[in-house]
Structures are given as C-alpha cells and as structure tokens.
C-alpha cells in the first residue's frame, strides 16, 4: 500500500527588527568600554553619554540581564552597546 504523500511545508520565521549584533570591546578595570571594533576598525570611546540596566524575566531559563551604554566614539558617532550578563558578551544594539 502506497503511503499518502504529506509534504511538510517549511516553517516560517518571524523577523524581529533591531537584532543585537556581537561586538568586540576592550574594557577598563571597571568594565566600561574603552575601545570598540566597528567594521573591523578599532575606535576609542570618547565619552559615555548614558547608562541603564535591563533585568527582566529572571524566572525563565534564559533571563534577560543587560547593561546598556550609549557611547560617543572618537569619530563623533554614537553607538548603543550592551553587556549581556548571561552570555558575558558585548553586543551592538541598533534601535
């Protein structure tokens, strides 16, 4: 008996906007960024303009625990970075 063909339809994906991108960062002793690698070029951080923390969903297996920093680079560009306390990685947030 020939089995009925049931071709599965491939799963769809939702595409969130502003997905964080991993970023290479050099930090000082206090954990603040000193240099960041943007488009394969290292640039110094001229100033830290803002700092805030997001600590939510701590009850879930993968909580969100981040320290956000808005930094001014030496070339005048502003960048929003965050340090993920769970993965211990730095990310660039486009928003």
């Amino acid at each position: 008996v020939v089995p009925r063909p049931r071709t599965p339809v491939p799963a769809r994906e939702l595409r969130p906007l502003a997905i964080p991108e991993p970023l290479e960062v050099r930090t000082d002793r206090r954990g603040y960024p000193v240099r960041v690698c943007v488009r394969q070029r290292w640039r110094y951080v001229a100033a830290i303009q803002d700092e805030w923390e997001v600590d939510i969903e701590w009850w879930r297996p993968r909580p969100i625990c981040r320290r956000y920093l808005r930094v001014l680079l030496e070339d005048g560009r502003c960048l929003t970075l965050f340090h993920d306390y769970v993965s211990r990685q730095w990310y660039r947030q486009t928003c």
Binding site: P3, R12, L14, R15, P16, L17, I56, Q93
Partner: protein, 423 residues
C-alpha cells in the same frame, strides 16, 4: 468483496504498552531504566501513566503527585505531553497505512487495522492476495512500527479478540499462531472460544459497575459468562450485558472505524526568541493563521476548525482546538476566537514555535465577490496576484511590513517585527 458482519472481519490490533512512557523514554534516553511517572497539568497533578519500575514501587494511576513523592521519592515525575503523544501516534498510524489503508486510532497506544482480504488465510491455490501467508502479514505488521517502540500485535476476527490477542499474546496458550519474534499472534476462528474461555471478565470493555456485578454473581471467566443464556444476562445487565455476552463468545459487533484522510493545512512559525508575552504570541499567531489561510485560499476552501500547538521553552507542548461558528477565509474573521482562546488559556511557558493546523476545511459558502471591484480593491487584487507569483517563483515571501508587537518593551528587538505582507 462480499459483505461481512463486523465480527467476521479480520482485524489487526497494534498495542504499545505504556505508550506515553515509551514516548518519553524515546525522547529522553537517560530515563530508560528509571522509575517514571507522568502527571497531568494543573493545580492537583495526578498520575496518568507510569513505568513498570514505578508500578513496582507502588505507584498507581490517579495518585496525586504529592502521594507519589511520599510513596517513592526516587520516582522521576514529569508532566504528560498529550499533544506530543497524539502527534507521535499519528505518525505511527501513518506507518501502519503501509500495511492497510484502514487504520483506526484508539488511544492510548492502540490502533486497529482492517486486514480483511489481504492474506490468503486458508492457502487456497490461485487466490491473489497482497500477503502470501499469515506469517508474511505478521512480518509486515511488525515492521510497520518503528523499532524504538516496543509493540505487540494481535490478529483475529473482531476488534475485541484482536486486542486480547495483542495484550495477552504470550499467555494465550498453544492454539494460536505466533510470529518468529513472538510479538505477533494470530487467533484462528475455531480457537476463539477456547482462547477466551479461561480469561477474566475484567478484560471486557464494559463499565465498572457491570464488571463488579459480574464478580458478585461469581462469574470468574469469560467461558462462564458465555455458558449463560443471553436472555438471562441481558435481563440482569441490559445492553451492556448483551455486548459482554457476545464478546465472551468471541463476537464483536463493533465495526472498524478507520480514520478518514482529511485534508489538513498546516503552517509553522519559529520564533526568534522564546515568547512569553501575550502581545507577542498574538502577533505570531496572527502571522501563522495568515500563512495557513493563504494556503487554504489557493484551494478555494474555508476553515471551520484550527488546532494551535506550541513548542514550549521548557521542552513541553501546549495545544488547543478552536472551532469557528462559521467557516471563514479571512484572518479578520477567524482571528478573534483564536485571540480569545489565547487570552483565556495562555501557554504555561514561553513559546519557541507555533504550529497552526486547519483541520476543518470545508467548501466556502461565504465571501461572494462583487461583479465590479472598486478601483482600490482592483489595485490590491492585482498587487496580491503579483506577490503570489513572486512568492511562487522565489519559494518564500519577499515583501514584508513592520508590525508593532511590544512597543513598550525595554528590549528593543521585541518592539517591532517584520511579517510577510499579505494585501
């Protein structure tokens, strides 16, 4: 093929003992030799299935989870994943269709197969059949269930006899035909009464009060029941008594009810990150409903019922069925009941992927189109046509719109999402 009454139809029974436990162990190999108890969800979880090791420790069905912990603390407790078991058994039933297209699913872990006419039972010369001998059919049956599940098979005339053969295969005595592995037994017609005679009436699919009264009457075997007069049994036990008496004779009048090959349209959506919030789930559900309806629209049919299933971050599954008052073809009409369901019965954990299956696909009587379209509608229809063409050529949706999901979220990637544009 000539008509045969139900009790004269050759039936195969596939019986997978402790099916839920076997599925869990196939999923978690490290639980293989541990005592395992599966409990229901809710505030007062009760045992719905347990492994033989747990039974030896005193665990029984319907025990409260607290009682299990008190009785045997070493027992592994896990929440039963009913949608996954159902889905797994459907896949097993798909495999059984290789043997015969007539497959009836009788949960938990049981299926009946219509085998009439597939085998040359009496060895008549020149009779063309799919299986040359009973042993060939038994081998085909054994090979149709994936080897990771330990299953037993019974073949006999009538569903009850086939199930008894599957469940008690090894203990049925010498008058039956066994496969080489011993997992499949065939009870011949002439041996039915002799096989059933020494068995307990507890095997009968009748209500508990009838079983208890049979014991009170001192009827300890099916043979004892079969020797009574039908009128006497019927006078005491009514309709159930008649059924019990016929079953004790080896006659099951319940016909096979094979599952119908219903068309299903299914769409799955993988979420970029586990989603726990209601707005995020609603957006994802709307997207997956949209995708399913686009497929249904291509066949010119409406949707009367959908099954929404979610794979949870915790590894479990969640599922609900929504039946619409009127079959529809548009997301605007079908989404509100689904939304209400999600608001009322939220999944118990964050969702990793959503699958929406349209089960009730019916010819649509709604949505009669006007003869002349408004200028804007004409443009939208042309755009929709071009987008469908583009999607068919590329194999994926290539035009998106930005949708607000959780604009208040402190996590920027949760605020907006790109969803396929469907005019």
């Amino acid at each position: 093929m000539a008509y045969r009454p139900a009790h004269e139809t050759l039936i195969g029974c596939v019986y997978i003992p402790s099916f839920a436990v076997q599925v869990e162990r196939a999923r978690r190999p490290d639980w293989h030799h541990l005592p395992l108890a599966l409990v229901s969800a809710g505030r007062q979880p009760r045992v719905v299935a347990c492994s033989p090791e747990a039974r030896m420790l005193g665990i029984r069905r319907e025990m409260l989870a607290g009682e299990v912990i008190a009785t045997a603390p070493q027992v592994v407790l896990a929440e039963a994943d009913e949608p996954f078991y159902r889905q797994t058994f459907e896949q097993i039933a798909d495999g059984l269709e290789v043997v015969t297209p007539l497959v009836e699913i009788a949960p938990p872990g049981r299926a009946f197969l219509g085998l009439e006419g597939l085998v040359n039972e009496r060895g008549e010369p020149g009779l063309p059949t799919l299986y040359a001998s009973p042993s060939a059919l038994m081998a085909a049956l054994e090979g149709s269930v994936p080897p990771r599940y330990w299953a037993r098979f019974g073949i006999a005339r009538g569903k009850f006899m086939a199930e008894v053969a599957a469940r008690l295969g090894a203990a049925l005595g010498p008058d039956i035909l066994r496969s080489a592995s011993g997992r499949c037994v065939w009870v011949a017609d002439h041996a039915r009464a002799a096989v059933l005679a020494p068995l307990s009436p507890r095997l009968l699919p009748v209500s508990l009060p009838v079983r208890e009264r049979l014991e009170l009457f001192g009827i300890g075997t099916l043979g004892g029941l079969a020797q009574l007069r039908l009128s006497a049994v019927q006078a005491q036990f009514g309709r159930e008594g008649r059924r019990a008496w016929l079953l004790a004779q080896g006659r099951d009048e319940e016909p096979l009810q094979p599952r119908k090959p219903t068309p299903e349209i299914s769409a799955t959506l993988n979420l970029p990150a586990p989603e726990a919030s209601l707005p995020g789930l609603l957006a994802a559900t709307r997207e997956v409903l949209d995708a399913a309806l686009r497929q249904a629209a291509q066949s010119g049919r409406g949707i009367g019922q959908v099954r929404l299933e979610a794979l949870l971050e915790t590894g479990g599954r969640w599922g609900q069925v929504v039946t619409f008052k009127k079959p529809g073809t548009r997301t605007d009409h079908l989404f509100p009941p689904v939304r209400y369901l999600l608001e009322r019965t939220h999944p118990p954990a964050a969702v990793e992927s959503l699958t929406l299956t349209c089960t009730g696909i019916v010819p649509t009587l709604l949505g009669q189109q006007a003869l002349y379209l408004e200028p804007g509608e004409e443009l939208a229809a042309a755009l929709a046509f071009e987008l469908r063409q583009l999607e068919a050529r590329l194999g994926r949706s290539s035009v998106f719109v930005i949708r607000e999901v959780e604009p208040w979220s402190p996590v920027p990637e949760r605020r907006f999402q790109l969803v396929s544009y469907a005019p």
